[in-house]
Assembly symmetry: C2
Homo-oligomer: 432 residues x 2
């Protein structure tokens, strides 16, 4: 009876909880703290945030550190054509597709020390833990540290996981950002832009994809639940709204004669909020950008441009909400004597997590004695690109206060370790 079978027998005997190995929480924390040095503000300490924008020197240095950790865990990392760092650990059956898992280490400017880092360092910690336990899974395991997840560089540019998902165009290699060409940026990471098509993974080339990540919202933290089981990554629809009134003298134009574009915009902003909130569900709607012309205290606003962004797991639901918003906008235009045009500027499909993997994660948590809650991911992740190719699942840990993309971003060390153990436990089950 090999170790795995022995553990299986233990599981049947209800003793699995004690049987599977656990990650080294102290080492996990130490590695996260060590990684935080790359891109740390001058004179800062851990917790002062990080600026490790993709393709920056800090990103290159951080990647080198991560590769050293992979080597210490017995892996042989390679860099694919898109700049993703990938490494494989053999299973007992080389004919099987691997269980793929990982995350990213690039950050937004003045970002935090947990977004991406937790999933990346935990993926390596899982390998190290298995090494120390002398365990070999049936399926091969593959770790991927995706390049350019945040999309800050090149205002989106080539995401490593998007290239792996086959969703990229050659023209994107010619993008220029901060005097740097996208193709040269990929070369800086050790990638090969001329062969970027080779970074593409074939559908079915992995058995499933798993990613551990911080929630970036406050749902888990508020509910006191240590693990979130992600139902999927939401669809996003973005609209650009133009409201045309008439800019006139704020002193000489009587109230009933006004065609005030900002008054109309205010009604529409409230309408977006009301329409999104009035039915149950986790959908969100945001007016995040708004500009007024001519924008002077003594001139009635003649023009307002604003954005409306809608997100939900169900693309149909947000399309329906958008229709209700359009209907309300027509009424607002009529009552305020303005012209309102709403143009769809972007649509991103949702990426649903595999129901089977969600159950696997929940089962792993049950074995670990951790409470769970299902929730959608309102933010985008590398996992959504992998969902194009095979079954995907994501594990969330709480973000204290729901703060993310800021130096104050924090997840308790205990939660980080729990997340890594859930990842390990799920991998063991999936790779068996």
């Amino acid at each position: 009876m090999n170790r795995r079978r022995f553990l299986g027998a233990l599981a049947l005997a209800g003793l699995a909880r004690a049987a599977n190995p656990r990650v080294n929480a102290a080492r996990l924390r130490q590695h996260l703290e060590a990684l935080s040095v790359f891109g740390r503000p001058a004179g800062g300490a851990f917790g002062d945030g990080v600026s490790r924008v993709a393709y920056s020197d800090a990103d290159v240095a951080g990647r080198r550190y991560v590769m050293s950790l992979m080597e210490a865990a017995g892996l042989k990392p390679r860099i694919d054509a898109a700049g993703n760092i990938v490494a494989r650990r053999a299973g007992t059956d080389a004919s099987l597709a691997p269980v793929l898992f990982g995350s990213h280490i690039d950050s937004v400017p003045n970002g935090g020390n947990f977004d991406g880092d937790v999933g990346s360092i935990s993926a390596i910690e899982v390998i190290q833990t298995l090494n120390e336990a002398g365990m070999v899974t049936r399926r091969p395991l593959e770790v991927s540290i995706w390049s350019n997840e945040e999309g800050v560089a090149f205002n989106n540019g080539v995401y490593g996981s998007r290239a792996a998902g086959g969703d990229f165009t050659a023209a994107e290699l010619d993008l220029v950002w901060n005097g740097m060409k996208q193709s040269d940026a990929i070369r800086k990471l050790g990638g090969d832009p001329e062969r970027i098509a080779e970074a593409r993974r074939a559908p079915g080339s992995f058995y499933c994809y798993l990613e551990l990540h911080i929630e970036q919202g406050g749902t888990l933290d508020k509910a006191g639940i240590p693990i979130g089981v992600v139902e999927g990554i939401v669809a996003i629809d973005r609209y650009e709204v133009e409201i045309r009134g008439f800019a006139n003298h704020a002193g000489t134009t009587p109230m009933p004669e006004r065609r005030d574009a900002l008054l109309a915009a205010s009604h529409l902003t409230i309408a977006v909020n009301e329409i999104v909130r009035r039915e149950p569900g986790r959908q969100v709607g945001t007016v995040g950008q708004l500009s007024v012309t001519p924008n002077a205290p003594n001139v009635i606003p003649g023009l307002v441009r604003m954005t409306i962004e809608l997100r939900d797991l169900s693309a149909e639901k947000i399309a329906k909400l958008a229709e209700e918003i359009r209907t309300r906008a027509k009424q607002i235009a009529a009552t305020t004597d303005t012209g309102i045009t709403i143009r769809q500027a972007a649509h991103h499909d949702s990426a649903l997590a595999s129901p089977e993997i969600q159950k696997s994660i929940e089962a792993a948590c049950a074995r670990l004695g951790l409470r769970t809650s299902r929730l959608p991911s309102g933010a985008g992740h590398d996992a959504q690109n992998m969902a194009r190719l095979g079954p995907m699942g994501m594990i969330f840990i709480p973000s204290v206060g729901g703060i993310s993309h800021a130096p104050q971003e924090f997840s308790r060390w205990e939660d980080c370790a729990n997340g890594a153990n859930v990842l390990l436990e799920t991998i063991l089950e999936r790779a068996s």
Copy 2:
């Protein structure tokens, strides 16, 4: 029986309407068109607007033209220390205070051809008409073409009529705008900044002040009434509002957790409109300026700064409205979980027109067969500075479509001539 007494006798006989002289409407138009050349856009024609900002070369050239008209009307214009052009026509009783009247010829950039110009050219036309009729009034008449009425230069700077009203500080002479010092700008017009205190007029140094002006709003035009009798120039209160929410991820922050500063600002913008409109009166309230931080489609607005401006003849009324707005703001802050601070940034007192002069203007219009309507002036005028020193009255003519401070600004030639005749008729009555 001198001519004035003869006319008085005619008036008693109900024949005055035929007796008093009338301005030369064709000449009035010709002079307005000729003045429009100074500051006209290159290659433009009358109606293409004017940029005759105070202290510009176009302003200096326009003033020279106006002084030539005054000379042609037998006046001897002089430039006072503040750069105002003033000229006196003797009356039969030199011991009496003069009837003062005039307006301005400076414009906003890309302004129109009627704002200020109509009152200035009509004032000179009145003198020319009296000359041609061989009439001498009992009181002296004084024409003033005020410098820098629009306050574009030096972002307000030294208004000629404000200096005449004694409301100015020495420090204002050191203001710099477009590389020019305020004191040098006054010198450019022929003024004497070192002796600017001498431009101050003593209270009671004129019998009354009259000003003909375009309405700049659409009330008269809409009602089809040719003459507006101004009740006064409104008080203005301006407030700066800061709304602090919390900038967070628009995808990961559930709707009930949001502290959306723009949502609060939208409620407040609508509240300002509702509070101002819900009681009868001509008061106006405007949110004209609004900025959002960080202003990104995918970030919940964390900070909004906006202005609230309130105007009415009654300073008490707008103070009461402001209190209601503050009360509503507190409720909005509570329901949106934001912090709202409202700071008063400016207060301008109202300047009431003399009831007696309003009646004089109405009587003049009755004699001329012109319908009138009383209305407040929502815009500021030189008359408000003169109201500090003596009785003031203003005559408005319709602005087509209520458009002003734009090249499309237009007042029908017939209305311009009517306005000049009302000014003449009122002067004759007041100066008798």
